[in-house]
Symmetry: C2
Subunit: 196 residues, 2 copies
Protein backbone atom coordinates (compact mmCIF):
# COMPACT_ATOMS: atom_id res chain seq x y z
CA UNK A 1 0.00 0.00 0.00
CA UNK A 2 1.40 3.40 -0.97
CA UNK A 3 1.44 6.66 1.03
CA UNK A 4 -1.83 8.09 -0.36
CA UNK A 5 -3.78 4.91 0.29
CA UNK A 6 -2.36 4.75 3.83
CA UNK A 7 -3.34 8.40 4.30
CA UNK A 8 -6.96 7.75 3.21
CA UNK A 9 -7.16 4.76 5.53
CA UNK A 10 -5.51 6.23 8.64
CA UNK A 11 -6.05 10.00 8.43
CA UNK A 12 -9.25 10.27 6.39
CA UNK A 13 -10.86 7.26 8.09
CA UNK A 14 -11.96 5.58 4.86
CA UNK A 15 -12.47 1.81 4.88
CA UNK A 16 -9.99 -0.46 3.13
CA UNK A 17 -12.62 -1.62 0.60
CA UNK A 18 -13.48 1.96 -0.36
CA UNK A 19 -9.81 2.94 -0.56
CA UNK A 20 -9.14 0.06 -2.97
CA UNK A 21 -12.18 0.96 -5.08
CA UNK A 22 -11.39 4.68 -5.24
CA UNK A 23 -7.66 4.59 -5.87
CA UNK A 24 -7.44 1.91 -8.56
CA UNK A 25 -7.16 4.43 -11.40
CA UNK A 26 -5.05 7.17 -9.79
CA UNK A 27 -2.02 8.43 -11.69
CA UNK A 28 1.38 9.08 -10.15
CA UNK A 29 4.18 11.28 -11.47
CA UNK A 30 7.79 12.03 -10.52
CA UNK A 31 9.43 15.44 -10.76
CA UNK A 32 13.07 16.37 -10.46
CA UNK A 33 14.32 19.09 -8.15
CA UNK A 34 13.67 22.45 -9.81
CA UNK A 35 10.91 21.21 -12.16
CA UNK A 36 7.64 23.14 -12.36
CA UNK A 37 4.33 21.27 -11.86
CA UNK A 38 2.26 24.41 -12.54
CA UNK A 39 3.04 27.73 -14.22
CA UNK A 40 1.35 31.08 -13.79
CA UNK A 41 -1.31 31.54 -16.49
CA UNK A 42 -1.98 27.81 -16.91
CA UNK A 43 -5.15 26.20 -15.59
CA UNK A 44 -4.45 23.89 -12.68
CA UNK A 45 -6.08 20.50 -13.36
CA UNK A 46 -5.12 18.57 -10.21
CA UNK A 47 -4.37 18.67 -6.56
CA UNK A 48 -1.00 17.10 -5.88
CA UNK A 49 -0.57 14.78 -2.92
CA UNK A 50 3.11 14.45 -2.00
CA UNK A 51 4.18 10.86 -1.33
CA UNK A 52 7.91 11.61 -1.26
CA UNK A 53 9.86 14.85 -1.56
CA UNK A 54 8.91 18.50 -1.17
CA UNK A 55 6.99 21.05 -3.24
CA UNK A 56 6.32 24.74 -2.83
CA UNK A 57 3.91 27.19 -4.44
CA UNK A 58 4.98 30.76 -5.05
CA UNK A 59 3.93 33.91 -6.86
CA UNK A 60 5.88 36.75 -8.45
CA UNK A 61 4.98 40.33 -7.56
CA UNK A 62 5.04 43.22 -10.03
CA UNK A 63 8.74 43.81 -9.45
CA UNK A 64 9.45 40.13 -10.18
CA UNK A 65 10.16 39.22 -6.57
CA UNK A 66 9.16 35.72 -5.41
CA UNK A 67 6.79 35.15 -2.50
CA UNK A 68 6.32 31.63 -1.15
CA UNK A 69 2.65 30.78 -0.57
CA UNK A 70 2.93 27.24 0.78
CA UNK A 71 5.27 24.32 1.31
CA UNK A 72 4.11 20.73 0.83
CA UNK A 73 6.26 17.94 2.27
CA UNK A 74 5.16 14.29 2.52
CA UNK A 75 1.41 13.77 3.18
CA UNK A 76 0.48 17.35 2.25
CA UNK A 77 -1.77 18.47 -0.59
CA UNK A 78 -0.86 21.43 -2.78
CA UNK A 79 -3.05 23.04 -5.43
CA UNK A 80 -4.22 26.34 -6.87
CA UNK A 81 -7.79 25.70 -5.74
CA UNK A 82 -9.33 28.74 -7.47
CA UNK A 83 -7.80 27.67 -10.74
CA UNK A 84 -9.05 24.07 -10.44
CA UNK A 85 -12.52 25.04 -9.30
CA UNK A 86 -13.22 28.19 -11.33
CA UNK A 87 -11.00 27.43 -14.34
CA UNK A 88 -9.12 30.65 -13.54
CA UNK A 89 -5.65 31.12 -14.97
CA UNK A 90 -3.33 30.23 -12.11
CA UNK A 91 -1.66 33.14 -10.30
CA UNK A 92 0.97 30.88 -8.82
CA UNK A 93 3.72 28.41 -9.65
CA UNK A 94 4.25 24.99 -8.08
CA UNK A 95 7.86 23.80 -8.02
CA UNK A 96 9.74 20.77 -6.76
CA UNK A 97 12.27 21.76 -4.09
CA UNK A 98 13.50 18.14 -3.96
CA UNK A 99 13.00 15.17 -6.27
CA UNK A 100 9.33 14.49 -5.63
CA UNK A 101 6.70 11.81 -6.23
CA UNK A 102 3.06 12.88 -6.32
CA UNK A 103 -0.42 11.45 -6.78
CA UNK A 104 -2.62 13.48 -9.18
CA UNK A 105 -6.06 14.15 -7.70
CA UNK A 106 -8.42 15.41 -10.41
CA UNK A 107 -11.96 16.73 -10.10
CA UNK A 108 -13.21 13.46 -11.61
CA UNK A 109 -11.68 11.56 -8.70
CA UNK A 110 -13.18 13.99 -6.16
CA UNK A 111 -16.65 13.72 -7.75
CA UNK A 112 -16.59 9.94 -7.92
CA UNK A 113 -15.26 9.65 -4.37
CA UNK A 114 -17.84 12.13 -3.04
CA UNK A 115 -20.60 10.14 -4.68
CA UNK A 116 -19.54 6.70 -3.59
CA UNK A 117 -18.15 7.34 -0.10
CA UNK A 118 -19.82 9.38 2.64
CA UNK A 119 -16.59 9.06 4.64
CA UNK A 120 -14.64 10.64 1.76
CA UNK A 121 -17.22 13.42 1.47
CA UNK A 122 -16.79 14.27 5.16
CA UNK A 123 -13.01 14.11 4.79
CA UNK A 124 -12.96 16.34 1.71
CA UNK A 125 -15.22 18.87 3.42
CA UNK A 126 -12.87 18.88 6.39
CA UNK A 127 -9.89 19.34 4.07
CA UNK A 128 -11.53 22.44 2.53
CA UNK A 129 -12.23 23.91 5.96
CA UNK A 130 -8.72 23.10 7.10
CA UNK A 131 -7.41 24.98 4.09
CA UNK A 132 -9.57 27.94 5.07
CA UNK A 133 -8.31 27.72 8.66
CA UNK A 134 -4.69 27.75 7.52
CA UNK A 135 -5.26 30.71 5.21
CA UNK A 136 -7.07 32.67 7.92
CA UNK A 137 -4.19 32.09 10.32
CA UNK A 138 -1.76 33.13 7.60
CA UNK A 139 -3.66 36.39 6.99
CA UNK A 140 -3.74 37.10 10.73
CA UNK A 141 0.00 36.53 10.99
CA UNK A 142 0.77 38.72 7.97
CA UNK A 143 -1.45 41.51 9.28
CA UNK A 144 -0.52 41.47 12.93
CA UNK A 145 2.41 39.32 14.03
CA UNK A 146 6.05 40.12 14.64
CA UNK A 147 8.78 38.33 12.69
CA UNK A 148 9.49 36.19 15.76
CA UNK A 149 5.90 34.99 16.13
CA UNK A 150 5.65 34.23 12.41
CA UNK A 151 8.83 32.15 12.62
CA UNK A 152 7.65 30.22 15.69
CA UNK A 153 4.32 29.39 13.96
CA UNK A 154 6.26 28.24 10.89
CA UNK A 155 8.29 25.83 13.03
CA UNK A 156 5.07 24.48 14.57
CA UNK A 157 3.44 23.94 11.20
CA UNK A 158 6.45 22.57 9.35
CA UNK A 159 8.68 21.07 12.09
CA UNK A 160 10.77 18.98 9.70
CA UNK A 161 11.40 21.65 7.06
CA UNK A 162 14.02 23.80 8.79
CA UNK A 163 16.89 21.78 7.37
CA UNK A 164 15.26 21.02 3.99
CA UNK A 165 14.40 24.55 2.87
CA UNK A 166 16.89 27.40 2.19
CA UNK A 167 16.69 30.35 4.59
CA UNK A 168 15.65 32.82 1.88
CA UNK A 169 12.60 30.68 1.05
CA UNK A 170 11.56 30.59 4.70
CA UNK A 171 11.96 34.39 4.90
CA UNK A 172 9.90 34.74 1.71
CA UNK A 173 7.14 32.55 3.18
CA UNK A 174 7.14 34.64 6.36
CA UNK A 175 6.98 37.92 4.43
CA UNK A 176 10.16 39.22 6.09
CA UNK A 177 13.67 39.92 4.84
CA UNK A 178 16.40 37.27 5.17
CA UNK A 179 18.20 39.74 7.49
CA UNK A 180 15.16 39.86 9.82
CA UNK A 181 14.99 36.06 9.83
CA UNK A 182 18.67 35.83 10.68
CA UNK A 183 18.19 38.31 13.56
CA UNK A 184 15.16 36.39 14.89
CA UNK A 185 17.04 33.09 14.81
CA UNK A 186 19.97 34.63 16.71
CA UNK A 187 17.69 36.14 19.35
CA UNK A 188 15.81 32.86 19.86
CA UNK A 189 19.08 30.92 20.14
CA UNK A 190 20.37 33.49 22.65
CA UNK A 191 17.19 33.30 24.76
CA UNK A 192 17.29 29.49 24.75
CA UNK A 193 20.88 29.61 25.92
CA UNK A 194 19.95 31.90 28.80
CA UNK A 195 16.98 29.83 30.01
CA UNK A 196 18.59 26.38 29.82
CA UNK B 1 -39.68 38.25 -0.10
CA UNK B 2 -36.69 39.43 1.93
CA UNK B 3 -33.08 39.95 0.83
CA UNK B 4 -31.78 36.47 1.73
CA UNK B 5 -34.60 34.69 -0.08
CA UNK B 6 -34.03 36.90 -3.13
CA UNK B 7 -30.33 36.10 -2.95
CA UNK B 8 -30.96 32.32 -2.88
CA UNK B 9 -33.34 32.65 -5.81
CA UNK B 10 -31.32 34.99 -8.04
CA UNK B 11 -27.66 34.46 -7.08
CA UNK B 12 -27.65 30.88 -5.83
CA UNK B 13 -30.09 29.67 -8.50
CA UNK B 14 -32.38 27.81 -6.09
CA UNK B 15 -36.00 27.26 -7.11
CA UNK B 16 -38.77 29.26 -5.44
CA UNK B 17 -40.28 26.11 -3.90
CA UNK B 18 -36.98 25.07 -2.35
CA UNK B 19 -36.31 28.61 -1.10
CA UNK B 20 -39.68 28.67 0.66
CA UNK B 21 -39.09 25.22 2.17
CA UNK B 22 -35.56 26.00 3.36
CA UNK B 23 -36.04 29.46 4.80
CA UNK B 24 -39.27 29.04 6.76
CA UNK B 25 -37.48 28.65 10.12
CA UNK B 26 -34.59 31.09 9.71
CA UNK B 27 -33.96 33.61 12.49
CA UNK B 28 -33.23 37.30 11.95
CA UNK B 29 -31.56 39.72 14.36
CA UNK B 30 -30.85 43.46 14.44
CA UNK B 31 -27.69 45.03 15.83
CA UNK B 32 -26.96 48.64 16.60
CA UNK B 33 -23.87 50.42 15.33
CA UNK B 34 -20.94 49.42 17.54
CA UNK B 35 -22.49 46.19 18.84
CA UNK B 36 -20.45 42.97 18.75
CA UNK B 37 -21.94 39.86 17.08
CA UNK B 38 -18.92 37.72 18.00
CA UNK B 39 -16.11 38.12 20.53
CA UNK B 40 -12.65 36.60 20.55
CA UNK B 41 -12.65 33.39 22.60
CA UNK B 42 -16.32 32.60 21.96
CA UNK B 43 -17.40 29.81 19.62
CA UNK B 44 -19.02 31.16 16.48
CA UNK B 45 -22.37 29.38 15.96
CA UNK B 46 -23.61 31.04 12.75
CA UNK B 47 -22.73 32.62 9.48
CA UNK B 48 -24.31 36.06 9.26
CA UNK B 49 -25.95 37.15 6.01
CA UNK B 50 -26.29 40.94 5.90
CA UNK B 51 -29.70 42.11 4.65
CA UNK B 52 -29.16 45.75 5.61
CA UNK B 53 -26.21 47.61 7.10
CA UNK B 54 -22.53 46.81 7.36
CA UNK B 55 -20.38 44.48 9.48
CA UNK B 56 -16.66 43.96 9.82
CA UNK B 57 -14.50 41.26 11.37
CA UNK B 58 -11.22 42.19 13.00
CA UNK B 59 -8.50 40.77 15.23
CA UNK B 60 -6.23 42.31 17.84
CA UNK B 61 -2.50 41.68 17.63
CA UNK B 62 -0.25 41.17 20.66
CA UNK B 63 0.22 44.90 21.10
CA UNK B 64 -3.56 45.42 21.10
CA UNK B 65 -3.67 46.94 17.62
CA UNK B 66 -6.77 46.21 15.48
CA UNK B 67 -6.51 44.59 12.05
CA UNK B 68 -9.59 44.42 9.84
CA UNK B 69 -10.05 40.98 8.28
CA UNK B 70 -13.20 41.53 6.21
CA UNK B 71 -16.07 43.93 5.56
CA UNK B 72 -19.60 42.64 4.91
CA UNK B 73 -22.13 45.06 3.38
CA UNK B 74 -25.54 43.99 2.05
CA UNK B 75 -25.66 40.50 0.46
CA UNK B 76 -22.34 39.41 1.97
CA UNK B 77 -21.75 36.57 4.40
CA UNK B 78 -19.42 36.94 7.36
CA UNK B 79 -18.32 34.21 9.75
CA UNK B 80 -15.36 32.76 11.61
CA UNK B 81 -15.51 29.56 9.59
CA UNK B 82 -12.84 27.68 11.58
CA UNK B 83 -14.71 28.40 14.77
CA UNK B 84 -18.06 27.21 13.36
CA UNK B 85 -16.65 24.11 11.74
CA UNK B 86 -13.99 22.98 14.22
CA UNK B 87 -15.55 24.44 17.40
CA UNK B 88 -12.35 26.47 17.81
CA UNK B 89 -12.44 29.52 20.07
CA UNK B 90 -12.81 32.45 17.68
CA UNK B 91 -9.68 34.49 17.02
CA UNK B 92 -11.70 37.41 15.71
CA UNK B 93 -14.46 39.85 16.54
CA UNK B 94 -17.47 40.71 14.37
CA UNK B 95 -18.85 44.23 14.85
CA UNK B 96 -21.65 46.32 13.37
CA UNK B 97 -20.23 49.43 11.65
CA UNK B 98 -23.80 50.61 10.96
CA UNK B 99 -27.18 49.56 12.36
CA UNK B 100 -27.47 46.13 10.75
CA UNK B 101 -30.03 43.40 10.09
CA UNK B 102 -28.78 39.85 9.60
CA UNK B 103 -30.05 36.36 8.92
CA UNK B 104 -28.48 33.68 11.14
CA UNK B 105 -27.28 30.68 9.14
CA UNK B 106 -26.50 27.76 11.46
CA UNK B 107 -24.93 24.41 10.66
CA UNK B 108 -28.38 22.81 11.06
CA UNK B 109 -29.66 24.97 8.18
CA UNK B 110 -26.62 24.12 6.02
CA UNK B 111 -27.00 20.37 6.68
CA UNK B 112 -30.73 20.35 5.97
CA UNK B 113 -30.30 22.46 2.84
CA UNK B 114 -27.40 20.31 1.58
CA UNK B 115 -29.54 17.20 2.04
CA UNK B 116 -32.72 18.46 0.43
CA UNK B 117 -31.41 20.64 -2.40
CA UNK B 118 -28.68 19.67 -4.88
CA UNK B 119 -28.73 23.30 -6.11
CA UNK B 120 -27.99 24.52 -2.59
CA UNK B 121 -25.19 21.96 -2.24
CA UNK B 122 -23.55 23.26 -5.43
CA UNK B 123 -24.03 26.85 -4.28
CA UNK B 124 -22.56 26.20 -0.83
CA UNK B 125 -19.58 24.43 -2.36
CA UNK B 126 -19.05 27.42 -4.64
CA UNK B 127 -19.31 29.77 -1.66
CA UNK B 128 -16.55 27.85 0.14
CA UNK B 129 -14.31 27.98 -2.92
CA UNK B 130 -15.05 31.65 -3.39
CA UNK B 131 -14.00 32.24 0.19
CA UNK B 132 -10.75 30.40 -0.52
CA UNK B 133 -10.24 32.46 -3.69
CA UNK B 134 -10.69 35.72 -1.78
CA UNK B 135 -8.32 34.65 0.97
CA UNK B 136 -5.68 33.54 -1.52
CA UNK B 137 -5.88 36.90 -3.29
CA UNK B 138 -5.63 38.64 0.09
CA UNK B 139 -2.48 36.67 1.00
CA UNK B 140 -0.96 37.46 -2.39
CA UNK B 141 -1.68 41.16 -1.92
CA UNK B 142 -0.29 41.22 1.63
CA UNK B 143 2.85 39.40 0.54
CA UNK B 144 3.59 41.15 -2.70
CA UNK B 145 1.56 44.24 -3.59
CA UNK B 146 2.23 47.95 -3.16
CA UNK B 147 -0.13 50.12 -1.10
CA UNK B 148 -1.56 51.52 -4.36
CA UNK B 149 -2.39 48.09 -5.81
CA UNK B 150 -3.97 46.99 -2.50
CA UNK B 151 -6.14 50.09 -2.48
CA UNK B 152 -7.26 49.64 -6.10
CA UNK B 153 -8.22 46.00 -5.42
CA UNK B 154 -10.16 47.16 -2.36
CA UNK B 155 -12.16 49.60 -4.48
CA UNK B 156 -12.90 46.81 -6.99
CA UNK B 157 -14.10 44.43 -4.30
CA UNK B 158 -16.05 46.93 -2.20
CA UNK B 159 -17.04 49.72 -4.63
CA UNK B 160 -19.72 51.18 -2.37
CA UNK B 161 -17.77 51.19 0.88
CA UNK B 162 -15.45 54.16 0.34
CA UNK B 163 -17.91 56.60 1.89
CA UNK B 164 -19.31 54.22 4.52
CA UNK B 165 -16.07 53.15 6.21
CA UNK B 166 -13.63 55.43 8.09
CA UNK B 167 -10.22 55.81 6.47
CA UNK B 168 -8.35 54.22 9.38
CA UNK B 169 -10.42 51.03 8.95
CA UNK B 170 -9.60 50.87 5.26
CA UNK B 171 -5.90 51.35 6.06
CA UNK B 172 -6.15 48.59 8.68
CA UNK B 173 -7.78 46.23 6.14
CA UNK B 174 -5.03 47.00 3.63
CA UNK B 175 -2.25 46.42 6.18
CA UNK B 176 -0.82 49.92 5.64
CA UNK B 177 -0.65 53.05 7.80
CA UNK B 178 -3.33 55.76 7.49
CA UNK B 179 -0.52 58.06 6.27
CA UNK B 180 0.32 55.67 3.42
CA UNK B 181 -3.36 55.45 2.48
CA UNK B 182 -3.63 59.23 2.44
CA UNK B 183 -0.54 59.48 0.21
CA UNK B 184 -1.91 56.82 -2.19
CA UNK B 185 -5.25 58.61 -2.47
CA UNK B 186 -3.53 61.90 -3.23
CA UNK B 187 -1.32 60.33 -5.89
CA UNK B 188 -4.27 58.60 -7.56
CA UNK B 189 -6.31 61.83 -7.51
CA UNK B 190 -3.32 63.71 -8.98
CA UNK B 191 -2.85 61.11 -11.76
CA UNK B 192 -6.57 61.19 -12.61
CA UNK B 193 -6.40 64.95 -12.85
CA UNK B 194 -3.44 64.73 -15.24
CA UNK B 195 -5.00 62.14 -17.56
CA UNK B 196 -8.49 63.64 -17.81
Amino acid sequence: MQAFETYLLKIAGISIDEVMLLTSELKRLSFEKGELLLKKGAICRHSFFVEKGLLRSYMLDESGKEHVIQFAPENWFIVDRSSVYFNDASESYIEAIEDTEVVLIGEDFICKANETSPAFRRFNDKLLHNHIRHMQKRINLLLGATAEVRYLRFIEMYPDLLLRVPQWMIASYLGITPESLSRVRKELAHNNFKTN
